[in-house]
């Protein structure tokens, strides 16, 4: 059992250190936006990379696909399905900064060409 925990510890360490070879740190606005995202529990309806809730769309690449003004409109007023969270102007800007930072991390959809014949994916890192 001790060996099991030793293996778990080593594997965890390797994952922590090497899972992302080109880390891109968030700026202060993105960090604040991340906090708003969590406090408003946005992940209960939205996903990043297909992980999260199912009510709204996956927002991994919303910044590059829809643009800032679209994001601002939805975040400020909500939609029929999404409630208006009454965020301040600064908070809206911070959430947009956060979503733009997430967008830079990669593409949520795996392209056809990335599927290897063995069934796995070969995804080029960012």
């Amino acid at each position: 059992m001790l060996l099991t925990f030793l293996f778990f510890g080593c594997y965890s360490g390797i994952v922590y250190l090497f899972c992302d070879n080109k880390p891109d740190a968030p700026d202060a606005a993105a960090q604040r936006g991340w906090k708003v995202w969590q406090e408003k529990n946005c992940q209960s309806c939205h996903q990043f990379y297909g992980l999260g809730g199912y009510m709204g769309p996956d927002l991994t690449n919303v910044a590059s696909q829809k643009g800032t003004s679209y994001m601002r409109g939805i975040i400020e007023h909500g939609t029929g399905k999404m409630p208006d969270f009454h965020l301040s102007n600064n908070e809206v800007n911070d959430v947009i900064a956060f979503l733009s930072w997430v967008d830079k991390s990669g593409k949520s959809q795996v392209a056809d060409s990335s599927v290897h014949w063995t069934g796995t994916y070969i995804i080029s890192h960012k």
Partner: protein, 458 residues
């Protein structure tokens, strides 16, 4: 059964009831958000449902440990047990209090403010202390279920700590790292509580069948080994599409495929399991656990398919993932836990009247769960087909036929709640009359003007 354990069992069953209640309302809030957004929005209902489910499963596993350690280690209830129960219960009540004021932590599974993780962590230490001090005093060569309980206890603590690492700024310096670790910890944590629950299932089966050798066989140890390796590595299938370093993905894929061994073994054992199920069908404890076997078969088949990245591409982020989660938490975990709690509460000694109701509840749950699960699979397939195959980008358009299918899921959810309520009601009756032997059971039976049919379980 002590007062503390009686209370904790009742609390655990209440969590199950709340899970189904919030889940049922949340399903309709998902379909008709405009009606709910003002007073009880989906983003508030979902954490209530998810947390209740999570705490039902973990509390259920802990109830088994607290009760069975008395038989296995020969130890009595101690202060650690009581401290664990009180911290655990108080924290969970506080969590629901925060949800009602819309105060969230915004993490998947753990949606409450993060400072509440501290009392949960402390409570777990007390549970571990109680278990390991009991083990230390008893035997050196324990059966497999003791190892499984220990593995679950330790890994829960490790993964629970790991899922809080995001509090350290370094872990938030990369979004990919943060996502990887979040799913590493959550994925492995599911494996941890599964170890505890499967350990309980093994213990009960060895007691019911009067065959202790099943908890010492080579085959059981091989499955345990496969389970632990999968716990540590196969979480990677949650994040196949995350552009993190490839070794995480490839290793998870390879390890996930070892579960075919378990799947094939279940298929080979199928015939003998069926004859065993027929032989013991009068025992509700046994029926629940055998029903979990059926769901393990169904869910493992689905999981194996989803673990192949090329297929996962169509299923990831769709309701097939929810189907997998529901199949695991209701079909497998809840069934085993109902078997476990039923064994503790001696439900097989309940009067004929109660058993009749229990039977109706069991059949209602079995049928509605199958419809519920099937609707989610169809909804997932529809979304995967429209999003990946047809390449639809308009979310509302993509979801149109999915939402129609989810109406079937929501209505099946009502029947699931009613069926489960019927079962839980009988469990509460059993808690009330627990430990009261024949004369008292007869008294209960007379109340329903039925003759008591006593089943000697042990």
């Amino acid at each position: 059964m002590t007062k503390t354990l009686k209370f904790f069992t009742a609390f655990t069953l209440t969590m199950l009831l709340l899970t189904l209640f919030f889940g049922m309302i949340a399903a309709f809030a998902f379909l008709y958000p405009e009606l709910y957004n003002r007073y009880l929005p989906f983003y508030q209902l979902r954490p209530m449902h998810v947390s209740a489910a999570l705490f039902w499963i973990i509390s259920g596993a802990a109830t088994g440990l607290l009760f069975f350690k008395k038989n296995v280690f020969g130890t009595k209830e101690n202060t650690s047990d009581k401290v664990f129960v009180w911290i655990w219960v108080t924290t969970i009540l506080a969590i629901f209090g925060f949800y009602s004021f819309k105060k969230f932590g915004g993490r998947e599974y753990w949606e409450f403010p993060p400072f509440l993780c501290l009392p949960i962590f402390i409570a777990w230490i007390f549970l571990m202390n109680s278990f390991f001090s009991g083990w230390k005093k008893s035997f050196k060569n324990p059966p497999l279920y003791v190892w499984m309980w220990a593995t679950g206890l330790i890994f829960f603590l490790l993964t629970f700590t790991e899922q809080n690492l995001y509090q350290i700024p370094w872990f938030r310096q990369s979004f990919l790292r943060e996502m990887t670790i979040q799913w590493k910890s959550n994925g492995a944590m599911v494996g941890a509580w599964n170890q505890m629950i499967y350990g309980t299932s093994l213990y009960i089966m060895s007691r019911l069948l009067g065959d202790g050798s099943i908890a010492r066989s080579k085959k059981a140890y091989i499955f345990y080994f496969i389970g632990v390796v999968n716990l540590m590595i196969n979480w990677g299938h949650h994040i196949y599409n995350l552009p993190a370093t490839s070794f995480v993905r490839h290793l998870a894929y390879a390890i996930s495929m070892t579960e075919w061994i378990v799947f094939i073994a279940i298929c080979i054992d199928f015939k003998s399991k069926i004859s065993q199920a027929r032989k013991y069908r009068y025992l509700y404890t046994h029926r629940f656990i055998m029903h979990a076997e059926f769901w393990a078969y169904l869910n493992l088949g689905l999981a194996l398919m989803m673990s192949i990245p090329a297929i996962n591409r169509y299923t990831h982020g769709t309701h097939i993932t929810v189907a997998h989660a529901m199949g695991a938490t209701i079909g497998i975990n809840t069934m085993i836990l109902l078997g476990s709690l039923g064994y503790i509460l001696k439900i097989d000694r309940l009067p004929a009247f109660n058993k009749k109701i229990l039977n109706i509840g069991f059949i209602t749950v079995a049928i509605s769960l199958l419809v519920f699960w099937g609707a989610l699979v169809v909804a997932g397939l529809l979304k995967g087909y429209r999003e990946v195959w047809l390449g639809m980008t308009n979310f509302q358009q993509m979801m149109k036929p999915v939402l129609t299918t989810l109406h079937v899921f929501a209505f099946a959810g009502i029947f699931l709640f009613v069926g489960m309520f019927t079962i839980i009601w009988n469990y509460f009756v059993a808690i009330k009359y627990w430990k009261l032997e024949k004369p008292f059971i007869k008294e209960l039976a007379a109340k329903h003007q039925e003759k008591s049919t006593m089943m000697e379980v042990e």
